[in-house]
């Protein structure tokens, strides 16, 4: 059960984290010294440097810059993209749905595969199936996403010509990127479902259900599985972080037009206002989703009292 105090505490904590995120994003551009030098090519003239410095306000004292930054962030102003000459935040928000779609598809795919795999593993413990499933799980966690991606492209796109290898627009375009991105999570999720099922299958109420003469399938799915879903919710929340990170690589491999690809190309274009905006948006989204998952979990889990 959940108390309002818990909600208040978690929200306050999230607010504090967001303040920290803002500070971090402000500071990261200054890590190597002069941020203006970072944003200009190596052969820029002194005049160009000075002009950009004044235009972006880097000639003011640091605390003034910080205050202005915070003020601007609060109103959603992340400056102008140096490359596109448009406001940075809308550029990011425009591409955000693509990344969210990719992440969602990947996680749905991995959860959809992990649940039956994990259940089958637990029910036929130590059998060939179990070992095969665990093998696949380990493989997923040991292959970098770009490796999986290139493999998938070679087999399914170039080889069998089933799916397109880049771009977006149709459902077919989503399949390979989502598969590549989701493959990493399948491992962790399968292991979790398997562990949860093993634990639950050994418990008393399962024996009671069997003793009552219920069909095995009913026992497994209706009684045992429902109780493992709660941890799966948390882990999906946890997998979101690595999925978002993995989306950066996936989007580059498959030329998927999302925020990840935007960030990488902005970095190579030295377009740091855009990088700042994008990184801030991703971090904020992640933190807020975590908060939602935590609150949902507290609401749904009848066993624990959150004070």
């Amino acid at each position: 059960m959940m108390s309002w105090r818990y909600v208040g505490r978690r929200v306050a904590q999230t607010a504090l984290i967001l303040v920290g995120v803002t500070l971090a994003v402000f500071w990261v551009v200054r890590l190597s010294g002069d941020p203006v030098l970072l944003m200009l090519p190596a052969d820029a003239s002194q005049q160009d440097i000075q002009r950009l410095r004044e235009a972006l306000g880097f000639d003011r004292p640091v605390h003034v810059q910080l205050w202005r930054f915070v003020e601007h962030v609060a109103t959603g102003d992340f400056g102008t993209s140096l490359r596109f000459q448009e406001p940075a935040l809308p550029l990011v928000l425009e591409r955000l749905p693509s990344t969210v779609l990719l992440a969602f598809a990947a996680l749905s795919l991995s959860t959809a595969l992990a649940i039956p795999l994990g259940v089958a593993s637990a029910v036929r413990r130590d059998s060939v199936w179990d070992r095969a499933a665990m093998g696949v799980a380990l493989l997923g966690q040991s292959m970098p996403i770009f490796c999986t991606g290139i493999l998938l492209i070679t087999v399914f796109s170039v080889g069998l010509d089933l799916f397109p290898s880049s771009g977006s627009g149709t459902l077919g375009h989503l399949v390979l990127p989502a598969a590549a991105l989701g493959f990493v999570s399948i491992g962790r999720l399968t292991r979790l479902v398997r562990g949860g099922m093993l634990e639950v299958l050994g418990q008393d109420y399962v024996r009671t259900a069997r003793a009552k003469g219920l069909a095995e399938r009913s026992v497994v799915y209706r009684h045992a599985l429902r109780n493992c879903l709660l941890p799966v919710l948390t882990i999906v929340g946890l997998e979101l972080g690595s999925t978002l990170g993995g989306a950066v690589v996936t989007e580059m491999v498959f030329a998927w037009p999302g925020v990840g690809r935007l960030i990488v190309s902005a970095i190579f274009a030295r377009d740091y206002p855009l990088v700042q905006a994008a990184v801030f948006v991703v971090a904020t989204m992640f933190v807020v989703v975590n908060l939602a998952v935590d609150l949902l979990y507290a609401l749904v889990d009848p066993r624990v009292h959150y004070g």
Partner: protein, 269 residues
């Protein structure tokens, strides 16, 4: 299985250390006359065992040199992250609530950024180089170790033997090193091993994106990035480096599982 994996890993480390002498050719030697030769053909058999790449460089030699890069960066990063994390975790949780909260809040803020995104951005700002990669991946990896150390401190702090030790006049440092640290160390070894696997993956991802070790220096990620253009035409350009990454990371993960079973089954990574 663990033993097999450990020997594979050990062999790799040896190979990586000896790469300059073992490699049949220089990793940077180009010869466009012999570009894109497949392995096991009359042109390459015996001389370029795994074929040549788009600039005529020997794939095998580049893979061997790439092993040096990945293992160097991976091991160094973990070697930085573990002591840093343990120190922060111990320090924060031992000296009272306020400091503990500060350390944990900093962790929360750092974890708000997906790890690869954090690495990509900071490495880009600092400039891609082996040194910067080691520093960034090392410093950014402190959190799991800090959590381990912290949990150990919080568990043991109230126990009687700590109070007894204090009553006997033992100072904080002594209590930490004699009683708390040994328990933490076994978990740190397990976590560190899995962290090594993850670091190798992140480093190769950064190299793939062009933000890792810069060309023409060979890295496995970079080789895969080059090989992308020749996906079926010259499959040996990406299959072999990919297999190298996979084998290495699998081996590290198996060793990690083995260590975990042997040392500390409670750890979940």
């Amino acid at each position: 299985m663990g033993l097999l994996a450990a020997s594979v890993l050990l062999a790799e480390i040896v190979v990586a250390l000896l790469a300059p002498t073992l490699a049949p050719h220089g990793a940077l030697e180009q010869d466009t006359a012999r570009r894109l030769r497949p392995p096991l053909t009359t042109a390459t058999a015996g001389r370029f065992v795994l074929g040549t790449d788009q600039l005529g460089r020997d794939v095998l030699s580049r893979i061997l040199h790439g092993a040096r890069v990945s293992l160097l960066i991976g091991i160094s990063a973990v070697a930085i992250a573990a002591p840093l994390g343990v120190a922060l975790g111990l320090f924060g949780s031992y000296h009272g609530r306020a400091l503990d909260d500060v350390v944990m809040r900093i962790a929360d803020v750092q974890l708000a950024f997906p790890f690869i995104l954090l690495a990509v951005t900071v490495v880009a700002v600092l400039g891609p180089s082996v040194r910067n990669l080691i520093v960034v991946l090392g410093v950014a990896g402190w959190v799991p170790y800090a959590r381990l150390a912290r949990s150990e401190v919080l568990t043991l702090r109230g126990r009687e033997f700590v109070e007894a030790a204090r009553a006997l006049g033992a100072g904080d440092a002594r209590i930490i090193t004699r009683h708390i640290l040994p328990n933490v160390l076994t978990s740190v070894v397990v976590v560190g091993t899995f962290a090594l696997a993850n670091t190798i993956i992140v480093e190769s991802s950064l190299s793939f994106l062009g933000l890792g070790v810069q060309p023409p220096n060979p890295t496995w990620g970079g080789m895969l990035s080059d090989g992308r253009e020749y996906v079926t035409a010259a499959w040996w350009l990406w299959v072999f480096p990919g297999a190298a990454i996979l084998t290495t990371v699998l081996a590290v993960n198996f060793v990690g599982d083995w260590l975990r079973d042997a040392l500390d089954p409670r750890v979940s990574w």
